[in-house]
Symmetry: C2
Subunit: 564 residues, 2 copies
């Protein structure tokens, strides 16, 4: 690499991370998964937008060949492997064992049904313009059916994590079935590759690849897992802490990735399995998990998801009929297949639909398979774009759909109901009634209710039982009819206000909470969240030192005071 | 990248991280900096050992050209930039300002003196076989003098961190002077490149490069720093925590790296400066620092340091006379230059020698400059190897030399004096005297002293004042004449032993400590370390649950219990 290529490397990587994370955060603000924003960043920086608006700049930033292209391909592959390491570390094997029957049923039904649904029209309906004219119908149909049938492990892992469902029973069934799916998919794909007479890395025949894959899986999950469990305390006792364990985990998963890539199953599979083995040890400390997982989720994964959008021009090669056909076939096969599998395993209707929507997420595999198929002239650009869009839509849909069928509620934090206008940096009131009146004014402004009515309601509640919590905190609150959602005001008082706390200390942090009546359980949630947030004396002290509403929010979210 | 190249990428990266970290830990065990082991790993995996023993395997793992070579070059450059980001984040600007005069004097003297010492013989003594015959004497001499004069920022940063000196006044003088040095070095090098009529990235003339560099430095450290300080609370309040800040920092430093690479100063400089600006904000939370710094120090930095050894065959191109000449010239110029600079600034003799040895560390710059000089036929392989070995030796020497002249002592932990033999998993004793006798036996075995004498001494001390600390802990101890170093025994007791604690609770964790007489201050250090380690109730509870000595050590070092 010369100096120019080096500069382009830093620039393109910096832009990818920056854009992906920025749009990811925007997506989150609109209640969408961060994933959507991260892929969109790639579409913006890729051929679709930047490549059309400023083709020279795009070609300069993301050259199609040469050292920069190799670097970026390599880096995105390392990135996705490390994200899968983290996804593996989060797997709870005890749930997987317990749900073994459901896993196998969902995995089988979720593979065979969509495979059949996709294979039939692809093979019997060759008139349709969706394959490369030069491609063998059988090979095309096998490829198409395989790529339709495989659930995306990284996509569904991220969605389940975003929903807080990852470590639930249902989350683990979806993950285990997706692994099963993935494995079977790679094995079928190895057969297809063999039919295409394409290069096959280690030159094994299919049977041997299958044998090696199963052997590796079993080996890692038994002997490997045991060895890692035994090694961790030694590493923690005798090497740098926590860096020793960190580099051990990284090196192991990269080597496992190399091994599965070598036997003809994709690298992410090895990294994922190694993650399962490492994460299963109860000796693995939380701080090690945090370091790996934050880095993988917020630096590596966004680069990978953004890189998807860099591959093709999504407008140029967009064919609406083809996208719709692929989307319908994909969903019609997967959703009922997994639903029936889950029902057979005895799960409830609601859970079964949840599993169906979860398994319907496609992604990385489709894109990797699609790229290979493009290369071997099995499909054209339009089909590739249709597969990618299908992957994105099914993945995007799976989160909200699961949320809806499962009646999931995201946990509520008191800060969700706080605004800059209801934050009073320095209260002037010296008594509890005066403090309640002082905080009623901004609450009246944001809720549109009458100020006096709010104050009366809270004062009445205060009469029944004082709301001083002790440790310098008070939480005056009341239920108010006609309120559509909770509202919270924060008042800080240097002098302190007496709220009749058990420890007789004046309150310096006053959180006034209005709850809708009839109430929806938010009262308990919000009070518990307040207690959790201010449990630590350092946080309480730091709260009194904040200068702005933003600093207060930053403190509440990080629960860590700024440096002295 | 095809599947084979992908496999090689994962394999080579996994081996580099694994070997570098393993040998780094071995080096630490022998009291050497981890750096040494990390570079050695590269020598083992590189042309020197693997390339000689198994040339085909070496060529397969680390191909000299093609996608894998591009990936590895790119990855190591990203790695070193991110390590410099962390080094920058640790800089304490207030110390740099306070020590401004010393910084400038040390920086100037530490640049001009070695430059002159190196330039003269290189220019006047052309008969020596140390330059490429085709090279222009002036260009060669300028290159040689530049590469001799520049202190290595990454190497000295890592050494100072290892010694715990990084954030001291002296550490900051060394770092600031090294930055000054580095900057001046890049500017001189830009001149040399201009003389060589080599490509120059943005096509600026030298004056403009200097202007841009100074402008960028000042801009980042004033406006940039202020903007970052203002943005951090907002990011913490409104984006994912702590991932939002993490990706913000990563994206900014990669973009800064791209910018400095573009203006003709190396990428690491931009990443370092951005790190300074980010790290200076008191809004940056400790947990964000920890995630970035652990990942950079234990995943990225080892890959870079190991990659140095991959460049050349250190045996084949080794010329002892040349290595000695380069080493003598390098040290004779730098050491006195920096010493005099520091003395002029009013520092003590001892501190001045410490600064001299610190500034004597060379490294990354020499290697980067050397690679460019090789490419432009200014030097041959032997000179390159001599420069690299000089860099390694001066860097290796700087840590121990600083430790010696500054009379540094590494902090002592009680676990340093504990052995598997003095760890008693389940004490049988029910009273304090019995417990003391029970722990005296293993202590007698490891110290070679008389068991009865130990027990008597500790019991006598116990009579003067009971050593029950409360919270289920006791620390019986005594000073023993004839002991060469402290010795510690740990006894765990489920039933508890009464050590007359202030809270009247029986002790479940008994740490018995023997201190040499005449004593050396280790008593206070060890007792303070014990108090710090077991401050947390969760740690104390977890200690009672450990099954082996290794698990106990792992707990004490991580201060984090295993998962339930």
């Amino acid at each position: 690499m010369n100096a120019h290529e080096m500069m382009i490397m830093f620039l393109s990587l910096g832009l990818l991370i920056g854009f992906a994370r920025a749009l990811g955060e925007v997506a989150r603000q609109f209640g969408q998964p961060a994933l959507l924003g991260e892929i969109l960043a790639g579409v913006l920086l890729g051929p679709t937008v930047l490549g059309t608006v400023a083709p020279d700049m795009f070609a300069g930033l993301f050259p199609a060949t040469g050292p920069n292209a190799s670097f970026l391909t390599g880096f995105t592959n390392v990135a996705i492997a490390l994200f899968l390491l983290v996804a593996g570390m989060e797997v709870d094997l005890s749930i997987v064992w317990r749900q073994g029957r459901a896993t196998i049923l969902v995995g089988m039904a979720g593979l065979l049904f969509p495979f059949a649904i996709a294979f039939a029209p692809a093979y019997l309906w060759p008139g349709l313009q969706w394959r490369d004219p030069a491609a063998e119908p059988l090979i095309f149909s096998l490829f198409f059916a395989t790529s339709i049938s495989i659930t995306s492990l990284p996509f569904i892992a991220k969605t389940l994590m975003d929903l807080g469902l990852y470590r639930s029973d249902m989350g683990m069934i979806v993950i285990a079935a997706a692994i099963f799916n993935d494995l079977a998919g790679w094995i079928i794909f190895a057969v297809v590759l063999g039919l295409m007479q394409a290069e096959h890395l280690a030159g094994f025949d299919i049977g041997f690849t299958i044998l090696l894959t199963l052997g590796f899986t079993v080996g890692i999950l038994t002997v490997g897992r045991w060895l890692i469990h035994k090694s961790l305390p030694w590493l923690q006792a005798h090497t740098s802490w926590p860096g020793g364990v960190l580099s051990f985990a990284m090196a192991l998963s990269l080597l496992a990735a190399a091994f599965t890539e070598w036997i003809g199953v994709h690298a992410i599979f090895g990294a994922f399995l190694m993650g399962v083995a490492i994460g299963d040890s109860r000796h693995l400390r939380q701080s090690t998990r945090t370091i790996i997982s934050e880095f993988a989720s917020f630096v590596f994964a966004p680069v990978f998801f953004a890189s998807i959008g860099l591959q093709v021009d999504f407008v140029q090669s967009f064919s609406l009929p083809l996208v719709l056909i692929v989307l319908v076939i994909a969903t019609l096969g997967k959703l009922p297949g997994c639903y029936w599998g889950a029902r057979l395993a005895g799960l409830s209707r609601r859970e079964s639909w949840g599993i169906g929507f979860g398994m319907n997420a496609r992604g990385a595999m489709q894109i990797i398979l699609g790229l290979l198929a493009l290369e071997y002239n099995v499909i054209g650009d339009e089909m590739f774009v249709a597969l990618v869009i299908m992957a994105i839509i099914t993945s995007m849909a799976s989160g909200p759909a699961m949320q809806r069928v499962l009646h999931l509620r995201t946990p509520r934090h008191f800060s969700d109901f706080l605004t800059a206008r209801t934050f009073v940096r320095a209260m002037t009131a010296g008594t509890a009634p005066a403090a309640i009146r002082e905080l009623s004014t901004p609450l009246a402004a944001v809720t549109g209710l009458d100020c006096e009515r709010i104050a009366e309601a809270v004062l009445d509640r205060e009469q029944v039982m004082p709301t001083g919590l002790g440790n310098g905190m008070a939480v005056p609150h009341a239920r108010i009819r006609g309120l559509s959602r909770p509202a919270v005001a924060v008042g800080l008082s240097t002098g302190g206000v007496d709220f009749n706390a058990p420890d007789a200390q004046p309150a310096h942090i006053v959180l006034m909470i209005l709850i809708p009546e009839p109430h929806d359980g938010s009262e308990v949630e919000i009070l518990a969240d307040i207690a959790r947030t201010f449990r630590n004396a350092r946080t309480r002290e730091a709260a009194l030192g904040v200068l702005t509403y933003t600093e207060f929010l930053a403190l509440v979210r990080s629960k860590e005071p700024v440096a002295p």
